[in-house]
């Protein structure tokens, strides 16, 4: 492990995303342990507080890659930019978030650097100077611990598993502007437009509280009671595949092995039986509550708290009770 530790600091609409602080924190711990510098690469950013906002998480130096052509995301354009800088720095380790952008970008960059990539790390350890990575496989039905023997270790971190911790309130990172030259380069793909579902809507994978409804909801309109419960808890609505396939909820709401793998603090499953594919997507939630009229439903095996009963009575009652105590 010779070179510095490099992180990619992801932005959306010109602002650093929280996942960038998670990655910086994880990177700082490794860098400190190895006595290495922590360098953040950021693309086309104009925040004037940049050196402070990343510095406090322990970043020593920021390389701001500049070219107006990078204002909107391009997988190959970003991969080219990062690989050019990475080859100059020659890091021992690259960390990036396994966010939507990270999942798209990291494999392309890895192939360009000709190094293996380890996706979706949930635990990062140093063992005699070697980096050992724990990651889920089979949607979390098992975990493997692996090591990369590539010249650069390249790892993406699952969002929300690593917490962002301030390293030094007063630290400012050194800022270096780096001009990337795209003359003669034709972008292979470009983002034309971003459609936001709802301003400020939190994604399931980043939500702290999720209230999910399954086939027991019986129809799309009944999700109103799920939404009301989610609202009092400041949570997000999810669904089982049965509900999605019935057309009651959009595909992006599906939790499970072929949907989103989520790990909120609280997951409330309403009218969901707990099929193995559903459990694979939500069993790593910290607390699970199940509401189901069938006492034998497998969801009760993973639930910390269960209520056996008709969700159409229990859910509104729960919403009311929560409203009451939140008032106090």
């Amino acid at each position: 492990m010779e070179g510095p530790v490099v992180i990619f600091a992801e932005t959306r609409n010109g602002k650093l995303r929280n996942v960038s602080f998670e990655v910086a924190t994880a990177g700082k711990k490794i860098a400190n342990n190895l006595g290495k510098e922590l360098i953040a690469i950021i693309i086309e950013n104009n925040e004037n507080t940049l050196s402070h906002s990343l510095g406090i998480y322990g970043v020593d130096k920021i390389i701001n890659a500049r070219n107006p052509l990078l204002e909107s995301y391009s997988t190959d354009g970003y991969a080219k930019t990062l690989s050019e800088i990475v080859e100059k720095i020659n890091p021992s380790l690259i960390l990036m978030s396994a966010s939507a952008m990270g999942r798209d970008l990291a494999p392309r960059l890895a192939a360009r650097l000709n190094v293996e990539l380890i996706s979706d790390c949930v635990k990062l350890d140093l063992n005699n100077g070697n980096i050992e990575v724990k990651r889920p496989i089979f949607a979390g039905k098992a975990f493997i611990t692996i090591r990369s023997n590539s010249r650069i270790k390249f790892i993406t971190l699952r969002p929300k598993v690593f917490t962002a911790e301030i390293f030094d309130e007063n630290k400012k990172a050194e800022l270096e502007e780096y001009n990337i030259d795209f003359s003669g380069y034709k972008f292979k793909s470009k983002v034309k437009e971003i459609l936001q579902e709802k301003e400020g809507k939190v994604d399931l994978t980043e939500a702290d509280i999720i209230v999910s409804g399954g086939r027991g909801m019986k129809g799309p309109d009944n999700y109103k009671i799920i939404e009301e419960l989610a609202d009092v808890l400041n949570g997000v609505v999810g669904a089982s595949r049965a509900a999605v396939d019935a057309g009651w909820r959009p595909h992006s709401d599906q939790v499970g092995q072929t949907g989103k793998v989520v790990s909120p603090t609280l997951y409330i499953a309403c009218g969901i039986s707990g099929a193995i594919q559903h459990l694979a997507g939500m069993s790593s939630s910290k607390w699970i509550v199940a509401i189901n009229k069938d006492p034998e439903a497998p969801i009760f095996k993973v639930a910390n708290y269960g209520i056996v009963g008709d969700l159409f009575e229990v859910v509104p009652a729960l919403t009311e009770e929560l409203k009451n105590i939140m008032k106090d």
Partner: protein, 248 residues
């Protein structure tokens, strides 16, 4: 249009994972293997594009002998032919992408489709790696695909929204649920699949630079409890959430 679809055979999602004695993969006895669910979306999309524009759909699959059942599923759905790269080792993303690229480089496809993720390793790597190795555009996690005048317009899922991405053909696309409804193979399709050509190839693929050190089960969840029955149990649930779980 010449369309290639990269497919992988994986354990059925119903599988209860059992770790083997060497602790580096799962026990394969009693496991049912299927075509990777996301690859079904990729095959379906290829068939739809072929139905509209004409052309050929070729499956490319790397894996052991048993992978033939997944290849047959894709052929039964309607793909024209397949290439099976025989390989018994478990390889990581880059090695798989290199092998696929070696086969695909000489084929001059207009479009290469993959699943967004194989549901065994959950790597989500092969698509963009393959695209980079072949110097082609990549668009991942696609829920809507339009092809016109050798241009691709795709919708892809990001946190809390969608990105509209543009690229030129040939391109590499990875399929997400929502892209389409995969068809079930018809009886006729299944019969015809048996006669469709499957070319077997062997490549010299170097070992992956990834070492599996250990494999383990997730931490067991604590014993749960039934708080009670019906709306009367709500008060106690809220108390537990407040005092025990300390969430509210």
């Amino acid at each position: 249009m010449k369309i290639a679809v990269c497919i992988k055979q994986v354990p059925d999602t119903e599988t209860r994972v059992q770790i083997d004695s060497e602790k580096n993969w799962i026990k394969e006895s009693n496991v049912t293997f299927v075509l990777n669910p996301y690859d079904e979306f990729a095959v379906e999309e290829a068939l739809k594009i072929k139905e509209k524009n004409g052309g050929e759909v070729i499956l490319v699959c790397l894996g052991p002998e048993r992978s033939i059942s997944a290849i047959r599923t894709g052929l039964a759905m309607g793909a024209d032919r397949a290439i099976h790269i025989k390989e018994n080792r478990i390889l990581n993303g880059l090695s798989v992408a290199k092998a696929l690229a070696e086969i695909l480089k000489g084929m001059n496809c207009d479009l290469i489709l993959l699943g967004k993720q194989a549901v065994d390793d959950d790597n989500m790597q092969v698509g963009p790696m393959l695209a980079e190795l072949m110097n082609l555009p990549s668009i991942t996690v696609v829920t809507k695909l339009e092809i016109a005048d050798s241009k691709v317009l795709a919708e892809r899922e990001i946190e809390g929204g969608l990105e509209i991405v543009e690229a030129e053909l040939p391109a590499v696309i990875t399929a997400q649920k929502g892209l389409n409804e995969p068809r079930y193979p018809s009886l006729r399709g299944i019969m015809m699949a048996k006669k469709k050509p499957v070319e077997e190839v062997e490549l010299q693929i170097p070992d992956s630079e990834i070492e599996i050190l250990n494999m383990e089960y997730p931490e067991p969840r604590p014993e749960g409890k039934i708080v009670g029955e019906g709306p009367d149990a709500v008060k106690e649930l809220v108390r537990l959430l407040k005092e025990e779980a300390k969430i509210i």
